[in-house]
């Protein structure tokens, strides 16, 4: 089990990343905040705890890969990449501006650390399967981490890829389903009921675990036990809260995409900074 200090550090880092998210939204006055904040604890843990990566050498051959299948949650990835040191944080202020290196969905040719051009839903897992096959063929131990939204589960291509992953025993794939339960039109179960998500993946031959996707210790302990079963791809159904960390938006489908006023953005900034400060103090006491 990971020690308390690391969990505290990761929680603090996630809070700083949430600040980064708000910084981008403040700069552009809009963004897909809900999904970005629901998966942010996962993305933070994957980059800061699990992945074999070097921000100074983003293309190093034996690196682990991260694919954000739900590309609209890119604020989370941008925030974490910046916090990890892939690029200066000043670039965050260009989000939404002309020719930004950070479009509304990630572009691997514009920003270091991005491995795939996602945004059209249902693409990430197929690409991950190809990466997993190619890396295994090269005798690499690298893993491919994927974050998929629960709203994109009905895309048929996901299930094509789910079949490939189990058929080829791709236990180097770690899929997080960001199960925040809400999509743009409302509750995922009402828009298109894909439950039971865990049983569906099990039926496709995956090793599956349900976790609280906003609980850092649970995320980290799960990451430490990958693959859940040798020879099977791992699907982690991460039960999360949409817009986690911003009180007004938590569990609110209206915060799928947010266009705040200056005052609203500043209030959000203040709220999250307070959280960061509290976590800093908590870390200071315990470390």
């Amino acid at each position: 089990m990971t020690d308390f200090n690391e969990i505290a550090f990761l929680e603090l880092t996630a809070s700083k990343c949430r600040e980064n998210v708000i910084r981008m939204i403040k700069a552009s006055e809009h963004g897909h905040i809900g999904g970005a904040l629901s998966c942010l604890d996962i993305v933070t843990a994957v980059y800061f705890h699990a992945m074999n990566i070097d921000p100074a050498d983003p293309k190093k051959e034996d690196r682990d890969r991260f694919i954000l299948s739900a590309g609209h949650k890119c604020l989370a990835q941008y925030a974490v990449l910046a916090e990890k040191g892939y690029f200066p944080k000043s670039i965050l202020d260009t989000y939404g501006s002309l020719h930004s290196k950070m479009p509304g969905h990630p572009d691997m040719h514009k920003l270091p650390g991005v491995e795939a051009n996602t945004g059209a839903l249902g693409h990430g897992l197929s690409i991950a399967c190809g990466m997993a096959l190619g890396l295994r063929n090269e005798h690499s131990d690298a893993k491919i981490y994927v974050v998929m939204g629960d709203g994109e589960l009905p895309e048929g291509s996901n299930w094509e890829a789910a079949s490939v992953a189990s058929h080829y025993h791709l236990d180097n794939i770690v899929l997080f389903v960001d199960n925040n339960g809400l999509q743009i039109s409302g509750k995922v179960e009402e828009v298109m009921n894909m439950t039971p998500i865990d049983e569906r993946f099990k039926a496709f031959g995956w090793a599956v675990k349900n976790i609280d996707g906003n609980d850092m210790r649970e995320i980290v302990d799960t990451l430490d036990s990958i693959p859940l079963e040798k020879g099977k791809p791992t699907a982690i159904i991460a039960h999360t809260v949409k817009c986690k960390g911003l009180a007004e938006g938590e569990g609110n489908a209206a915060f799928h995409y947010w266009s705040p006023s200056r005052e609203e953005a500043e209030a959000a900034e203040e709220e999250i900074k307070k959280r960061t400060l509290a976590l800093e103090q908590k870390s200071g006491e315990k470390i």
Partner: protein, 310 residues
């Protein structure tokens, strides 16, 4: 040997398999389509580099993209509409937008799966794939060009779409290096230029020869690269003959004819007549009869040319 009839799928598969011996990066993907794409020997020789995915063309394009990110050169061949129209968005995003070094080959192209009907015809593949920035579109015209085009396709860094047919086709040309983006002058002439691509070039050659006997001098251009088109050769032909006829086993809209028309209207306005299939769901039946029905046999091309020159 000139005139020898060979199976385009077998020639294609053989060419890839031969290159795979020296180039270990080449891997083959199948959507239950590998063996019928000429990869029987590849499967036997390189089982670790052959990935059967079953019938899931959208998934396969994504898998190919991911493989390419690891340095592999994936080759994926299946029935043309199922690797173009069906997974179009995957082609656009995962291969085009991501600039991945993947080679997609649509076989049984055009109406060559003639009797199977419109679901299995591919008459818009040039039109849709050429709209994806950075994708090369090839349509080799005979078995020799299939072999050389495969080599060029593998050597080219970036996504390529190539279409090949189904029935045996005759060798038309002696081997020469395939240069992507370059057409070839098959016959010199002064009255009209016929520009053909892929499967229709044999009929265009016969039509040109017959027209010459009737006193019509045809400049015949073979255009095995549809995109990027050989602008220099098209403009040179437009200046020389003032009139151009395009021939393709594709809709008259959106393909070679449209490309030539776009180019001429911009850089060298001349009259262009586009021969192909009208934008409809094509009928079914024996391949040769269907081609004749749509005036894509030698007689049809000849008749259309004479009408155009009236």
């Amino acid at each position: 040997m000139i005139g020898e009839y060979l199976d385009p799928r077998k020639e294609f598969g053989k060419a890839v398999t031969e290159l795979a011996k020296a180039n270990e990066k080449i891997v083959v993907l199948s959507a239950d389509s590998g063996k019928s794409s000429g990869f029987g020997d590849f499967v036997k020789q390189y089982p670790d580099r052959y990935f059967e995915c079953g019938i899931m063309e959208q998934g396969v394009i994504g898998v190919a993209s991911g493989l390419a990110t690891t340095g592999k050169i994936p080759v994926f061949c299946a029935i043309a509409p199922f690797v173009t129209a069906r997974p179009f968005e995957m082609f656009r995003n995962d291969l085009g937008y991501m600039k991945q070094n993947v080679k997609v080959v649509g076989r049984n192209c055009g109406i060559s799966y003639s009797d199977l009907g419109a679901t299995h015809h591919s008459l818009e593949d040039f039109a849709i794939i050429r709209m994806i920035p950075g994708v090369v579109v090839l349509a080799p015209q005979d078995p020799t060009e299939i072999r050389t085009a495969v080599r060029a396709m593998i050597e080219h860094e970036g996504p390529v779409y190539m279409r090949i047919g189904n029935p045996k086709i005759p060798v038309l040309f002696d081997e020469q290096p395939f240069v992507i983006g370059k057409g070839r002058i098959i016959r010199e002439g002064t009255d009209v230029t016929i520009i053909s691509t892929g499967s229709t070039t044999k009929a265009a050659m016969e039509a040109a020869d017959s027209l010459l006997k009737q006193g019509v001098s045809v400049r015949l251009i073979g255009m095995p690269t549809v995109c990027p088109i050989d602008e220099e050769l098209v403009i040179e032909s437009a200046l020389k003959t003032k009139r151009i006829i395009t021939v393709e086993e594709h809709y008259t809209d959106g393909g070679l004819g449209t490309l030539v028309s776009e180019l001429c209207s911009t850089k060298c306005p001349v009259r262009v007549k586009r021969l192909g299939i009208p934008k409809t769901y094509a009928s079914s039946g024996p391949y040769d009869e269907l081609l004749a029905y749509y005036s894509l046999d030698a007689k049809g091309i000849e008749k259309s040319t004479l009408e155009f020159l009236k």
